[in-house]
Amino acid sequence: MAYNHNHEASQGSQNHAHKADIFCRDETRVDWHSKALWMLREKRDRAAGSIPEWEQLRQLGSEIKLHTLTHLAQYLETFEQNCIANSIQVHWAKDGAEHNRIVHEILARHKVKKLVKSKSMLTEECHLNPYLEQRGIEVIDTDLGERIIQLAKMPPSHIVVPAIHMKKEEVGELFHELLGTKAGESDPLYLTRAARAHLREKFLTADAAMTGVNMAIADKGAVVVCTNEGNADMGANLPKLQLHSMGIDKVVPDVDSAAVLLRTLARNATGQPVTTYSAFYRGPQPEGEMHIIIVDNGRTEMLKDKILAESLKCIRCGGCLNTCPVYRRSGGYSYNYTIPGPIGIAVGAKIDDTNSIAWACTLCGSCTYICPTKVPLDKIIFHHRRLKAEAGKLPYGKNSYMPLVGKFMASETMLNCSMSVARTALRILPGSLLKPFSGAWGKYRELPVAPNSSFEAWFKKHRSL
């Protein structure tokens, strides 16, 4: 089937350029993908532009997150205490394995056979679905995009619009095969209605529901869950057992802080003024049970590095993916990590065994510029390159420049220079360095190279800085 075309790119650990190359084989598809994402970027620009205080909100978002991250232990403990006062049961998990074990224990205790789930990048990160399925629990992703890729047996290719890489004809074919819709039917309204009917039955018969968390409000002991489809709330409010998984970075001090982030989240994601549903759960239903699992899974490790730490300000709006020239033309499966795009590089490069995704970036800075919490993505990505260089893990081949560049990347100069200097440096590097393995996403786009500079000249001039 056609949708398997990109599936090849979704498997295994191959470097970014190789996977991008698979995606780029079909150039009209790449153009289509790029255009769809650019549309989101344009909607975002209109939404942001309509709010005169936009820049003030970005600054506030950044500072609220930074404040919380620098007082995280205090806020997490306050959050837990307040949850307990609201009859919410709180669990702590060091890593994905412990998270999955806790979730399974709760479900097993209640003899849960069927779990409805709304979108949660954290549970993707922990690979929860296969863990539960292997233990005999049916897991149903209920966000339409997630359900589509679940039925197609693919991982998400975007954090907000997970099936963005699929054409409606492919969805039609998939639904025809698995949900019994009419053959050849690809109208989005018809297909969405079919999914509504199919999933309604699942909601009504589920034994438990699970959601991610957009914000956890410390002083109330409440979690905020945002969706457009209403799937999180249809799920969590039918069965008597509800579970919510959150990274330690999701906590905010109070409702006022959440309000700031709610103002930018949807505007930056899809250009909507706010998500359709922003639900605040401050306790279980009558006779119900509510569990929150607080997960570290590498986040405290990230906090030990001043630059990487700022990636924990992210609120997962997906805006940086939509604006990224590399993501738009290489697709979500080329990153060797669950989360693609600039934020995927920021949080995934460290464990990227191909040591290539840190280079899937032109350092254009567009992502940093649009981020609602001012995550300094280009700075973080550049920092990852340096860390890889220091660890002797540069992805380059035997090109003559490579050893020099390796040293250069790890040098004190690059350690201390500002991003603007770094950008200049990279602009005047030979194209093969900027696109170290003839990056497939850049094949059809020559990047401007300053004509009168050479890398050697630049390096001589700056090595003494």
């Binding site: 609201n86 339409l144 969805v171 309204l189 489809e229 209403g230 359709t276 549903y277 239903q285 030990k304």
Partner: protein, 189 residues
């Protein structure tokens, strides 16, 4: 050592230096709140009924019932043909739910709903169509103001609802009516 302790201990090694909490002081755009609210409600695919209040709302409910539809009302002064059932699942065939909204937000068309007025928490999501009744003097300029005025007491559930449920997950085509209500009408009281 418990995982909680391990995590809290690991946090002590953070490289970030303390950052103060900023004061959130955003100037509201306070002119013509109802007008702003209506524009944004339309943007999120909802419809506003400004005239007629409870009488218009009851007339609408009567009309729906006359069409043979199942309607439940949780708004004082509006009577419908269904009562709150013992279990949430029994709401599955509700065509229209009429629910009081507490606070409207002009900047984005969202309306805050608290579980005290829902019968079951799932009511505004499981109904085919949703009608919210909102006092006209309860529209605030923005989310900062709304954050101050919503109620969410110990153990409660509340939700900002901005329009009917929707999705654009198939090729970015907007489809109204995903898993929640397929339409939203708001009556100003």
């Amino acid at each position: 050592m418990s995982s909680k302790l391990e995590i809290l201990n690991a946090l002590k090694l953070s490289a970030l230096t303390n950052h103060p909490m900023p004061s959130i002081d955003v100037a509201p755009r306070g002119d013509n709140l109802i007008g702003q609210f209506e524009t944004n409600l339309n943007t999120v695919a909802g419809t506003l009924h400004k005239e007629g209040g409870l009488i218009a709302l009851q007339a609408k409910v009567d009309e729906l019932i006359a069409q043979g539809l199942q309607v439940i009302s949780l708004v004082d002064g509006v009577t419908a043909n269904r009562e709150v059932p013992p279990t949430a699942h029994e709401l599955k065939d509700i065509d229209y739910a009429v629910i009081p909204g507490d606070i409207g937000v002009a900047e984005n068309g969202a309306i805050w709903v608290n579980n005290k007025n829902l019968g079951h928490r799932v009511t505004p999501f499981i109904c085919e169509n949703l009608i919210l009744a909102l006092p006209a003097n309860k529209i605030v300029p923005n989310m900062h103001q709304a954050a101050k005025e919503i109620t969410l007491d110990v153990g409660e559930f509340g939700v900002f609802i901005a329009g009917p449920s929707k999705t654009a997950d198939i090729e970015q085509a907007l489809v109204v009516g995903a898993h929640g209500a397929c339409s939203l009408n708001v009556y100003l009281l």
